[in-house]
Symmetry: C2
Subunit: 143 residues, 2 copies
DNA sequence: GATATTAGTATCCGAAAAGATAGTAGTATC
DNA sequence: GATACTACTATCTTTTCGGATACTAATATC
């Protein structure tokens, strides 16, 4: 039995509100590139092509879409510089800092979960490091 | 400018490790039904058909798959009871409680974000309540 | 005038996630 | 013997996501 529902009580309305709030939060971080993008920009502003190079294999279409998503959520600001061939710089907003505690919690939990899976399966570290996160999270019992 | 990268420094390796850990965490919560399912079971153990009824419009195929995912991640335990027509009960494990602080952070952030969006757009509350979370999070500027 | 660089957009494509619909095995009831 | 309930599984279709490839407009360089 669990205590997950204790803090807010467990009325249907409270649960739905919680689910919706958590979903809102997950939604803004979701997809393959949001996190790499945020971490990449956390080292400083970058231009479009610089981001593309730093992420390696993202296509311009996807990068453009992801940057627009981040802009809509006010994590990233897009600045067009009036240079000869125009340069566009993207940088994290102060608001993006509000994510830090959430990301910190997710990171802590993710690392602990990975350790649990490693312990549970007694798999050698090297083998674990070779697995993708998807495999790790989706099929821990298979390790 | 942001301070997102400060706590762990910003070496390439540290960033990748963080991204992977956060991704691990997001992965186990991802998909349309994981959260409703967890919240539903947080009120107590339920049988397959009871879960289906409580979630409304999930198909048995999807429900079965989601429950298996949760079982693999050790959030849910599946117990087969030797009754006349067999009954199967699903319940949250003690390990699922480890999610509570993560979910609490996500909930807090999600609620604050929604409020920010509401303030930013000065949209009437009723209009906001009519929107889906996807619309809210994906296109806040359109409110 | 040909080529390169800027920051993208347009079109098509394949994989994966989700859903609709139907069926299954075992038991019990009418 | 027909129907219903249990907990699913099988098959097919739709929707969504991400990617490959090619292209654009404006300026600058060779």
């Amino acid at each position: 039995m669990s205590t997950l529902s204790k803090p807010t009580g467990h009325t249907k309305e409270a649960c739905n509100a919680s689910v919706n709030a958590v979903r809102d939060a997950l939604y803004v971080l979701n997809g393959k590139w949001k996190l790499p993008l945020i971490f990449s920009l956390s080292e400083g502003p970058l231009r479009f092509n610089e981001i593309q190079r730093s992420l390696g294999d993202i296509t311009p279409k996807i990068l453009s879409k992801e940057l627009q998503d981040l802009e809509l959520n006010e994590f990233v600001e897009r600045k067009v510089m009036p240079t000869k061939p125009v340069t566009v710089i993207y940088e994290l907003t102060p608001y993006s800092d509000s994510l830090s505690s959430v990301l910190e919690e997710l990171k802590k939990w993710g690392m602990a979960h990975r350790k649990k899976i490693m312990r549970a399966k007694q798999a050698p570290v090297i083998a674990l490091d070779d697995r993708t996160e998807k495999e790790l999270a989706a099929a821990p019992a298979a390790l």
